[in-house]
Symmetry: C2
Subunit: 526 residues, 2 copies
C-alpha cells in the first residue's frame, strides 16, 4: 500500500471522529491555536537542547581569533571622545579613534558585570518578560520603510501602518514583545517620528517595546516618555526598554549608535549590540571569518556598555546574511548564514549573555513560496540555535525593505509553532499512551479511543492559515492561496481590535510632552 493510498483510506475515518469533536470547544481551540485570544504569554520556555554545530575546540579557535582581531586590528569608535576616554581608563590602547584591546579585556568586562538575563517590564505587569536563559521572546520585524499588502501592493509606510502593526502584534499571543520600528512612518518628519512611534507602543498595546536609536536626543526622549509611563522612580532601577544598536561593520562604532547606546546604558536600559553583516561585503566571505568578526565587534560593544554603567543589560546580537557574489544583492534563507547563526548562539552562551538574532527573513517581494522557504529556514534555525530575543519574527519582506500584512499573519502562525516545538516531547505516563495502544490494538484506529478523547484538544498544533481540506472543498471555497487567506485574517483582526486601558492622566502627560517637544525644533528629514 503506498503512502498515498493509506492517507486517503484513513481520512474518511478521521473525519467522522473529527466532527464529533468540534462541538463546544471553540474557545479552548482559539486559545491553543494562537488565534486572537489573549493568554498573557510572555516568553517561550525552552525544554529541548540547542543545536550545536561547533565543538569546543572550534569555539576556542574562534574566540582566540576574535581576541587577535581586538588586539592587533582593533575597533574604531568614531566621533565619540567619551568612549575613547573610557577605553583608555580601562587599559586599552587608544590610537586616534582606533582602540586595541589587551587579550581577554572585553570578555572579562562583559563577564564581570553584564547580567545573564534581565526582566523587561511592560506597563501591564502580566506582560513583563525576561530576556535570556532558556527563554525565547518573539518580536516583530524592525525597520522597513515600505509596507505591502495584496490589495494595494507596495507603498511607503505611514503612521497608520505603524499603528496597525502595533495592534496586530498586540493581538498575536505568539509575539511576546511589541518591537520597535515595526515600519518607518515616512509621513512624519524623520526627527519627530520617534515620538509617534514610542507613543503608539504605549497607547495601542501593553506589551514591552523598543526605543529610538537614530539620535542620542531621541533616546533621551524615549527614556523621558518611559518615565512618564512608569513613574520617575521606576527608571533607572528597572529596565523597561530594549533597543537595537547596530555595529557599523566592519569593526566600527559610529557616533549616532554610540550616543544612543550610552543614553540607554546610563539609564540602565537594555541594548542589543548587533554586528550587522552581509558576509562577503561587511565581513569575510567565509563563515569562520564572519564568526570571528561578529564576536570581536559584539565583545567590544558590550564591554563598552559595561564601562558606561556596570550591570546595564546587554544582548549579544547578530544579523548575518550573505551577499550574492554575482549581483551584490543580499540573500536570505541560505545555508551559510544558518550555520553562522548556530555558531553565534554557541559563542553567546559561552559568554553568558542573552542572544538576539533574526526570525523570518527573506528577499522575496511578495508572500510567495520564496518568502516562505527563506523565512522558515531562518526561523527554524533561530529557534534551534537558542535565540533569546528573536527580532524580525513576523512581517519581513524584501530584505527588510517592506513590512507585509499577509506575511505578518503567515509568520505569526509559524511563530506559534515554534512555541510548541521548543516545548519538546512530553514523557508523562499519559503521553506514553500504553493504555491507548492496549485498548486499540492491531488494525483498528485511535479516533474514538478514551485516550484520544481525553487528549485531543491539546494534542496537535492547528494552523491559523493552512488549508488542510480536500481539493474539492478547497475549490468550493474559492481555491485560495495562503496569502489570500491571510489577507482576510489581518483585516478581521484590525476590525475587532480593542485597545488595552491606559490611565488617562498618563496618556495626557505623554500627549503634552510630545506636543511641547515637537514645538521646540523644526521638522527635518534626517
Amino acid at each position: 500500500m503506498t503512502d498515498n493510498t493509506r492517507r486517503r483510506r484513513v481520512s474518511g475515518r478521521a473525519r467522522a471522529g473529527g466532527r464529533a469533536a468540534q462541538r463546544g470547544r471553540a474557545a479552548k481551540r482559539l486559545a491553543r491555536q494562537g488565534g486572537i485570544r489573549d493568554e498573557f504569554r510572555t516568553w517561550i520556555d525552552r525544554r529541548i537542547p540547542h543545536f550545536d554545530v561547533l565543538d569546543a575546540e572550534a569555539l576556542e579557535l574562534i574566540e582566540y581569533n576574535a581576541d587577535t582581531v581586538l588586539e592587533e586590528i582593533g575597533i574604531e569608535f568614531r566621533e565619540f571622545p567619551r568612549a575613547l576616554k573610557l577605553w583608555k581608563e580601562a587599559g586599552a590602547d587608544v590610537d586616534g579613534e582606533r582602540v586595541r584591546f589587551p587579550r581577554g579585556l572585553c570578555r572579562s568586562l562583559v563577564q564581570a558585570t553584564a547580567p545573564s538575563e534581565y526582566t523587561q517590564h511592560a506597563r501591564n505587569p502580566k506582560r513583563s518578560t525576561i530576556i535570556g536563559g532558556a527563554r525565547t521572546v518573539l518580536v516583530p520585524a524592525y525597520g522597513p520603510p515600505f509596507v505591502h499588502d495584496l490589495d494595494r501592493g507596495r507603498r511607503y509606510a505611514t503612521i497608520e501602518d505603524f499603528r496597525n502593526f502595533v495592534k496586530l502584534t498586540y493581538l498575536s499571543p505568539g509575539l511576546h514583545h511589541s518591537g520597535g520600528t515595526v515600519c518607518e512612518p515616512v509621513d512624519v518628519p524623520v526627527n519627530k517620528r520617534h515620538f509617534d512611534m514610542v507613543y503608539s507602543h504605549i497607547k495601542y498595546t501593553d506589551k514591552p517595546f523598543m526605543g529610538s536609536v537614530t539620535h542620542p536626543e531621541r533616546a533621551e526622549d524615549t527614556v523621558a516618555m518611559a518615565q512618564l509611563l512608569f513613574g520617575e522612580d521606576f527608571l533607572p532601577h528597572k529596565t523597561v526598554l530594549t533597543s537595537l544598536i547596530n555595529v557599523n561593520s566592519p569593526l566600527t562604532y559610529d557616533a549616532t549608535m554610540l550616543g544612543a547606546a550610552t543614553v540607554y546604558a546610563e539609564n540602565n536600559q537594555a541594548t542589543v549590540i548587533s554586528p550587522f553583516l552581509l558576509a562577503g561585503a561587511m565581513s569575510p566571505v567565509t563563515m569562520a571569518g564572519t564568526l570571528t568578526q561578529i564576536l570581536a565587534e559584539a565583545l567590544a560593544g558590550m564591554a563598552y556598555i559595561q564601562l558606561v554603567r556596570p550591570g546595564a543589560p546587554v544582548v549579544f546580537g547578530s544579523f548575518a546574511a550573505a551577499v550574492s557574489m554575482q549581483s551584490g544583492a543580499p540573500t536570505f534563507g541560505t545555508p551559510e548564514p544558518s550555520l553562522v547563526l548556530y555558531g553565534v548562539g554557541q559563542l553567546a552562551r559561552r559568554l553568558g549573555v542573552p542572544f538576539r538574532s533574526g526570525g523570518g527573513l527573506c528577499a522575496s517581494k511578495v508572500p510567495d513560496a520564496q518568502a516562505a522557504y527563506e523565512s522558515a529556514n531562518t526561523l527554524q534555525t533561530a529557534a534551534l540555535a537558542g535565540v533569546n530575543f528573536m527580532l524580525h519574527t513576523a512581517g519581513w519582506l524584501e530584505g527588510g525593505l517592506a513590512m507585509g500584512y499577509e506575511k505578518f499573519i503567515l509568520d505569526v502562525d509559524q511563530a506559534n509553532m515554534i512555541s510548541v516545538l521548543l516545548k519538546g516531547i512530553d514523557l508523562s505516563e499519559n503521553a506514553q499512551a500504553l493504555d491507548a495502544l492496549r485498548e486499540v490494538g492491531p488494525g483498528s484506529h485511535f479516533l474514538g479511543a478514551a485516550h484520544t478523547r481525553a487528549n485531543f484538544e491539546t494534542a496537535f498544533y492547528r494552523s491559523t492559515v493552512a488549508d488542510n481540506n480536500s481539493f474539492e472543498q478547497w475549490q468550493q471555497e474559492g481555491s485560495t492561496d495562503a496569502a489570500q487567506r491571510a489577507n482576510g485574517i489581518w483585516k478581521k483582526m484590525l476590525a475587532d481590535y480593542q485597545p488595552p486601558k491606559l490611565d488617562p492622566a498618563i496618556d495626557e502627560s505623554l500627549v503634552d510632552f510630545i506636543r511641547r517637544r515637537k514645538s521646540e525644533f523644526e521638522d527635518r528629514d534626517y
Copy 2:
C-alpha cells in the same frame, strides 16, 4: 542606523564588486549552484552533529515501552502463513495471526544481521550510492495519483508525467536517487504499470531506483528486470533496488506488503520498513505513544526481513504526520511530527540501521507560501535528524495526492541547500580569514579584498529560483513569484534533456520481457 539603512548602503558597494565577478565563470557557478550540470553526486557526507531532542533515559523508556507493546499486544501478520511459521521457529508466541515477541527478540534479530549501511548499485557505477552512516541520499516524492502545474492545474498523472519526473530528477544533481512511483501513471492499467515505471527508471536515467511493492508478482517482475539490466550473476549478491514497505498501522502487516518484502529480501534487495502514521488516527494522539508504536512496528518488520534472509538490507522508515482533530484531515509541517522525526532518528541510530523519513511534505494544493513553510519545516527537520534516505524530497503537494512540477523545482533548490548545510563550517586557515580582516580593517569593505577574490566562487549557495534583485528590477522583469519562475525552469530542463546511454541489447531484452509479460494476463484496475 537601522538594519535596513545599513542594507541599502552596502548594496550599492556590493553590486559594483559583483559585476566584476560575473565574467567567465558561468560553468563553475552552474555546477556549484545545483543547476543542471551533472557532477555525479551520489550522497551528502554529513559533517555536522544530529539534533537530538531526547536524552538517554527517554530513549530507554521508549525502547522499553516498545518491547512491552511487542510482548503484550503483539503484531498481526495477516494472510501470510510463511511469516507466522518463521516467527514460530524464531521463538515468538503465535496466536492465530497475532504474533507476540519475547522482550528483546526483534532487536537482537535486527542487530545480529541487518547491515548498518549498504551500497545500492546504479547501472552507471558512478551513480551507485551508499545508504546509511553519516550520509544523506535525497529522493523525489513517491505515490501521487495527480500532477499539478501552473499551466494546466491539477489533473490525473500519466506515464508521460512519470517520464518527465524521472528526467527532471536525472537532471537535478541535488537528487541522488530516481525514486519509485514518482507519480501514478493512471493511463496505464494498474496491474501492468509497474513494467512501464521500472522501465522508465532504467531508460531515462542512470540513477538508482525503487521497485514495485503493490503485489508480490510485481516485485518479482522488478527483480527480473533488474537481472536483465545488471546481469544474472549480479543479483542476489549485490543490492540494486530499495523498495518501500508501508506498515498497515496500527500494528499490522498485510499480505501485499509482506509478499513484496519477502520477494525483495529473498533476492537480497533492500526494503524500507515504514510505519505510516497519521497520529491521532493510526497511532496515539501523543508523541511519546506514537514513537513507541513506530519503534515496535519497525522492529517487527525489520526482524521479519532478517528471518527471511539474514543480512538483507533494511531501512528503518518513518512517516508520521498528525491529523487535524477538528476535521480529520492530515496536516504537515507542524511541530509535533518534527519532534517525532527527531526522536525516530535517535532510535534508528541506537539500533544501528539506516533511517528513512520524509522531505518536503505539505498539505497545500498549490506551490504557495503554505506549501513552502510546511515543506521547509519538514525538510530542515529531516536534515538535522540525520535521515539517510530522504523520500519525498521534491515535488510533493496536497498531502501526497499531487506531484507538482513547479513544486519540484522549488524543492530541488532547497535540497541543494541541505547539502551545503550538512557540510558544516570550514575551519581551515583560509576560512579563518584573519589576513582578510587585517587587509580590510575598520570601516572599509571586503568586496575587493584578495581573500574575497580567491574564495567568492565557492563561498555562498546561490538559489536557482529565488529573486534577490531590487524591487524595481523585479518589477521590470515581470513581477514574477517563485512558482512562475520555477515554471520556466522545468520547461527548459525538459526541452534540453538528453538521455543517458543504454546498451541497445539490454534495452531490447527489457522491451521484449515487458511485451511478453504484459501479454500473459488481462488488464486490471487493481
